[in-house]
């Protein structure tokens, strides 16, 4: 009996906490659906008195470039994710399995970059990409976002515990080191790739600070930049802004719901073996 009431208490606590976590999102979505006169009404209406969809359609008339921003963000996130996965897998495999002079030094050099926060090197990094002529280009958005020791480390931990037998069989069959990697090891990395992919994609989809420095024209803006600079119409500024915000958040949340298990495993790996 005591145990039952304890369980009930636990579920109460869980639900209250869940309410706290969902409430801001609920506020965003309902504000996007409310008529302008109701957004700041006291006492607040929990359920919109009438559902207004015009806030959503107005997003695209106020910011005609909105679809372009979504496309830009998608291109940047997808390219960074795919290229980073291949490069990190190659680097990780090289460091975990192939033997050559200087390997350990390179490994520790790469791991030590985990200690350098991006915000600390923001100014010199900007100076560098400007010297390359990458300001206001896709290059400037994409290339600096790719190198990341975390992905290399994550895959390295996977490759060192991979049983060697499969690779050895391929080597006896006359497969080159690169061939072993591309034909044997890469197909085995699928679930690790999924874990990293969702991590990279979300990080880039939500990235704001670096694009803020690189982008200078509205056409190249990413979604987060567009959202940050979004100004709603005078009669219902917050309704349209929250509609724009909802549209920007939905793809990330959908991806999250489908792949949350993979996302969890990538976070867990870094947390425990890090």
């Amino acid at each position: 009996m005591k145990k039952q009431s304890l369980t009930a208490l636990k579920y109460c606590l869980l639900s209250v906490l869940a309410g706290c976590f969902l409430f801001p999102l609920y506020c965003m979505i309902t504000a996007a659906l409310k008529p302008g006169s109701e957004v700041f009404k006291t006492p607040p209406t929990l359920i919109p008195s009438q559902f207004v969809w015009s806030n959503f359609s107005r997003v695209f008339t106020i910011a005609p470039l909105y679809p372009r921003w979504v496309l830009n963000t998608f291109i940047v996130s997808a390219v960074v994710t795919v290229v980073a996965l291949y490069l990190h897998a190659m680097a990780a495999y090289s460091l975990a399995r192939l033997r050559y002079p200087g390997r350990r030094v390179i490994f520790y050099l790469i791991i030590s970059t985990l200690m350098i926060p991006v915000t600390s090197v923001l100014i010199p990094r900007f100076v560098i990409i400007r010297a390359f002529g990458w300001v206001n280009t896709y290059w400037g958005l994409i290339i600096p976002a790719i190198p990341h020791a975390f992905g290399i480390f994550f895959l390295h931990q996977f490759y060192i515990q991979l049983p060697r037998e499969l690779e050895e069989a391929a080597i006896i069959d006359g497969c080159s080191p690169a061939g072993v990697f591309f034909r044997i090891v890469l197909p085995l990395s699928r679930s690790e790739f999924a874990a990293l992919a969702v991590f990279f994609f979300l990080a880039n989809w939500n990235s704001y600070l670096w694009p803020l420095l690189v982008v200078q024209t509205p056409q190249l803006k990413t979604l987060q930049l567009g959202l940050a600079g979004f100004v709603g119409p005078y009669d219902n500024p917050w309704g349209s802004l929250m509609a724009a915000n909802t549209i920007a958040t939905i793809p990330a949340l959908l991806l999250f719901f489908v792949l949350q298990r993979q996302l969890m495993s990538s976070i867990t790996m870094t947390g425990l073996k890090g």
């Binding site: 606590l13 639900s15 906490l17 869940a18 976590f21 801001p24 999102l25 506020c27 965003m28 504000a31 006291t42 006492p43 607040p44 490069l87 190659m90 680097a91 090289s94 192939l98 033997r99 050559y100 002079p101 970059t113 200690m115 350098i116 926060p117 915000t119 600390s120 090197v121 923001l122 100014i123 010199p124 990094r125 100076v127 560098i128 290339i143 600096p144 190198p147 080191p177 990697f181 939500n206 704001y208 600070l209 420095l213 959202l227 940050a228 917050w238 929250m242 915000n245 920007a248 958040t249 990330a252 999250f256 719901f257 949350q260 996302l263 969890m264 867990t268 947390g271 425990l272 890090g274």
Partner: protein, 288 residues
């Protein structure tokens, strides 16, 4: 070509692109940042060597001192509160039972939402006539200035950070809790240890490596906040939410003082390293 040579060759080729990228966009910038710290430079045109002037200026710049204090205040609240909330969430949803998976998903979901989106939602809720004040009024509290007040704005900023990171660190704690062998708990139960005793003498000590990781990561995370500040407060009111990273950003990209901005970032980088080291030392000495 011998197999050994081919292996070494492939090894270098495979590691080269990432190594080059890391060098170009992290390692080299770290040194370039220190170098720029010794110069006065508007970002374009000629650079003037000024020795330690930028570093000396930090000591006499009240705005820098203020930003450092703001950062330390933010971190001093963020690190322990984040630790408690995420550990509490992890303990609540650690064991899979009916419906718990759903709660876990809900707590974890804000990880997927951008800091910009969350900043905008909080800004909306904290408008003078927004939902926060409306709720305060229904429980009989006068409407508050919220983002218009320095100390309240800092706490609102803090709450956005907690909202986003609690679920992230919860996942790390869950993994840590699941790694604790079940036998310890069974033995303690036989000995008649109460819940709190089990928590104090089994869970906490065995969770120490994970706790250390969470403390250091959230400490570093607290120093690097930018997006939320830019969206929510723009550093205001009256610099109340201007952290060192935000201050350095404004120095470089709004006031075109690339040298001074770089110097600040370098010093703050050293402070972060020092603080992480101190946390590490305390945790390894203390019994927790």
């Amino acid at each position: 070509m011998s197999r050994k040579f081919l292996e070494a060759f492939t090894g270098y080729i495979f590691v080269l692109p990432d190594l080059l990228g890391l060098f170009l966009f992290l390692i080299f910038p770290a040194f370039l940042g220190l170098y720029l710290g010794f110069y006065e430079w508007s970002g374009v045109g000629s650079m003037r060597y000024v020795g330690l002037a930028n570093f000396k200026r930090m000591f006499s710049d009240p705005l820098f001192a203020g930003s450092l204090l703001t950062t330390l205040k933010l971190v001093a609240f963020y690190v322990p509160i984040n630790f408690i909330i995420s550990l509490l969430l992890a303990l609540l949803v650690q064991h899979p039972s009916k419906g718990v998976g759903l709660y876990r998903t809900i707590y974890f979901a804000p990880v997927a939402i951008s800091a910009v989106s969350i900043g905008l939602i909080w800004k909306f809720m904290c408008q003078p006539k927004g939902i926060v004040n409306a709720l305060l009024m229904t429980i009989g509290i006068q409407p508050q200035p919220l983002l218009g007040s320095g100390s309240q704005a800092l706490f609102i900023l803090l709450s956005t950070l907690l909202y986003q990171s609690a679920g992230y660190y919860m996942v790390i704690f869950i993994a840590g809790l699941n790694d604790i062998p079940q036998e310890f708990y069974e033995a303690a139960l036989v000995d008649g240890a109460a819940w709190f005793q089990r928590f104090r003498y089994i869970t906490l000590p065995l969770l120490k490596p994970v706790s250390l990781f969470v403390l250091v990561m959230s400490l570093l995370g607290g120093f690097q906040v930018f997006d939320q500040i830019q969206i929510l407060t723009g550093g205001g009111p009256y610099y109340a939410t201007t952290t060192t990273v935000f201050y350095a950003y404004r120095m470089a990209f709004q006031f075109y003082q690339f040298g001074y901005g770089s110097a600040i970032n370098f010093v703050v980088f050293l402070i972060q390293l020092l603080l992480s080291f101190i946390v590490f030392k305390i945790m390894n000495k203390g019994e927790v």
